[in-house]
Point group: C2
Chain length 305, copies 2
């Protein structure tokens, strides 16, 4: 199985605007549907620029209600209506989402013609909040306002049917799906072949963890253990670790420590401070010193999970 | 005198997003200060891209509270605070500005550290609302929600001192400013030379009119009579005049009729419907057939008033 499960970076700057980056926004695509993660200003422009389209958006997940993670949301919701969306849209976020968004939904009620369903999530616990084929859980982060991360996991793939067993017992086509789903097989002679003999385990389900703005939380590694790709904010270089700690942000090295301890395959870093004018080479170097398979987020980047 | 009085186009598309244009936003610069007119999403990005800077923004004028004219406002206000603004900022707009903006100012109160002073303007009358050297008046427009236009006029320049009079009466440097301001001149012999003999009239003050979303209003020409540069929305070509009328928008030809009847020197058109995929050549041709000195707004365009 290799269904396309991809992460697209729409914006990876931090709050102070620069011409090099847009504020935080990402899109995850899986099985022809898309899932928006944070929604900084201009994210709808980036969605168009990357050719991702608006009609497949199934849900939006907001990590916290700082402007650089949500200012693009009202405009996006309005655009979906201009594009004739009728399907309801689920928007998840911490409880502060209500105070931010409800007055705007009310004000623009005549121009948003579909249902926006708000769901408030906790920021102090791991919790499964969504499952439409892609399973989404929250996990706690620690920032200056209530903030959570999101973990996206594909469904557990079905185990493989052993080819030699199929031949040996002459298992007909119609019965194979049931066996993959866990059934035993009874031969015409009444002999029961246990499922474990007929199947071999599938690959583990792929997963992506979005670790938004947060101070360095060593225990986070436990919560994103075994995830294939981790995005972790990396606002500062080590030299500015003091700024990071004061402002509840992380350094690139700290992001890499999480990825390493979690046993991730790949780390994507972003949310760069605007002070690093000549690019993010140093952030990358510091992260790669700890976790070699680190890449820099950049607008337009698209990676396979 | 030729103080720089310039119009900068930050966005000139309409509500449905395209990659060709950004939503409505303009900046007017005069005597080292800048004035923002409408504030569609992404306008702060355009301000940076055009190198206009944020620190000189003196006031913001919103024509109406459709999203494509105001979605960029909360993010911009937040950015000004990140950039350490402490000076109060005046924001003008129709009464609906309150419902749109006050809840957001309240929500982001901790991240907007300067005073935002809201001023609600009528949309059914001509009214002088602002004067800090640049004089600003509103005038009524007719759209689907309460909408006004804004007229910006520089102060009346001082008259010219006639060079031959200065020589003839040997008028000293220190007295010249007063004469420009209207004083007569008394010679050492006691002869009073009336001001009218000493000066010649200045050029008329330059003015710019922003005619935002509106159905075609022939009487508008009276209210923007003699203005140097008029911006007028031109959402549709003549073939789609029916759409224009139904949606309280104008065609390019109608925009040109206003500029012609007003005796303007220059017309800038914009707010193009997203349906004109291959550019705005037809809009321009239709406007120029009526008013030859028409130009197309475009992001990055900067014109002298």
């Amino acid at each position: 199985m290799s269904e396309d499960f991809r992460l697209h970076i729409l914006g990876c700057g931090s709050a102070k605007p620069t011409l090099r980056h847009w504020p935080s926004a990402q899109m995850l695509t899986f099985r022809g549907r898309s899932y928006l993660i944070d929604c900084g200003e201009g994210c709808q422009w980036q969605i168009q620029r990357m050719g991702l389209g608006f009609s497949k958006i199934r849900a939006i997940f907001i990590s916290h209600l700082h402007g650089d993670h949500c200012f693009g949301l009202p405009a996006l919701l309005s655009t979906l209506s201009l594009l004739k969306r009728t399907e309801p849209l689920d928007v998840y976020g911490p409880a502060q989402l209500e105070e931010f968004l409800v007055p705007q939904l009310e004000f623009f009620r005549d121009s948003i013609a579909y249902e926006v369903r708000l769901h408030y999530v906790g920021t102090d616990r791991v919790e499964r909040i969504f499952d439409d084929g892609l399973e989404v859980s929250t996990f706690p982060l620690e920032h200056r306002v209530p903030t959570c991360g999101y973990l996206f996991r594909e469904p557990r793939p079905l185990p493989h049917l052993k080819r030699d067993m199929v031949i040996q017992y002459n298992i007909p086509e119609y019965a194979r799906r049931k066996i993959k789903e866990g059934a035993d097989w009874e031969t015409p002679e009444g002999q029961v072949i246990p499922n474990a003999e007929l199947t071999s385990p599938a690959e583990p389900p792929r997963a992506y963890a979005y670790c938004s703005d947060t101070r360095y939380l060593p225990q986070l590694a436990e919560q994103v253990k075994g995830v294939d790709t981790i995005y972790h904010e990396a606002t500062y270089i080590e030299e500015h670790a003091e700024s990071a700690h004061q402002r509840f942000h992380s350094t690139a090295r700290e992001a890499a420590l999480i990825a390493k301890a979690a046993g991730a395959k790949q780390l994507v870093i972003g949310h760069y401070s605007s002070r690093y004018k000549d690019g993010e080479a140093q952030l990358l170097a510091e992260a790669q010193a700890v976790f070699p398979n680190t890449i820099l987020a950049n607008e337009g980047l698209s990676v396979e999970i």
